[in-house]
Amino acid sequence: MVFSGCLTSLPQISEFIAKSGERADMGSKAIYQVQLAVDEACTNIIEHGYGGENKGDIDCSVIIGQKDMTIILRDKGKPFKMDKVPQPKLNVPLEELQPRGVGVFLMQQMMDEIKYERTTDAENVLTMIKRKP
């Protein structure tokens, strides 16, 4: 499914993930976790990869396996330097809490595996795997 790279696409993408998750028989808890990870990833693509709304599309595909569900997000924005995103400082006093890195940290916590690849034709491919509980 191809979605336009704008924030108002997020509920549609989430709905697509929910329906796929139901078909994969993932259970509501795992579906929520995948929805959250995909929402964070797509927000990153729109805000950081494309640098704003309506600059390009997000191609979202789902592969349903026997034991897991794989989500592949493709976009043509700037490369996603996942390893350069700082680990957020959590469990600190409220005043010291900063938002940077929380989205990527959430993605890592919600999914079992995350792989990123920049293809030779300048496409970002983010592959996220969630195993059935």
Binding site: T8, L10, K29
Partner: protein, 111 residues
């Protein structure tokens, strides 16, 4: 997304429903800021009908909590946080920054 605010004697109540994500979080932020800017810092956020919260949405709550707790002038408390949402919040350790209640009456009464 509709955000409803109501003013009580001792605190304010914010209620919304559905998804709070990057596209709708600014509306929630506006609701919190309008109360805080009016000098009121005791706020109950009723999440009974909220079924999705992205990190952007949590950040609105964290920011509001920082402003409200400053000088011990108030606090943001949460009502009926759905289990999936609460688990994701606890995973990133943000659950500890909020008092949570099972119903609005208890939350309003705590102020």
């Amino acid at each position: 997304m509709e955000v409803i605010t109501s003013q009580y004697k001792r605190c304010d109540l914010i209620k919304t429903s559905g998804r709070v994500d990057s596209s709708t979080a600014p509306q929630l932020e506006e609701a919190f800021n309008s109360i805080i800017d009016a000098g009121r810092h005791k706020i109950v956020f009723d999440m009974t009908d909220v079924n999705f919260m992205s990190s952007k949405a949590w950040w609105v709550l964290i920011d509001a909590q920082k402003k409200c707790k400053r000088y011990n002038r108030g606090e943001v408390t949460l009502v009926k946080v759905q289990e999936n949402i609460r688990e994701s919040l606890d995973l990133v350790g943000m659950g500890s920054y909020f008092q949570m209640f099972d119903d609005v009456t208890a939350a309003v009464g705590s102020f």
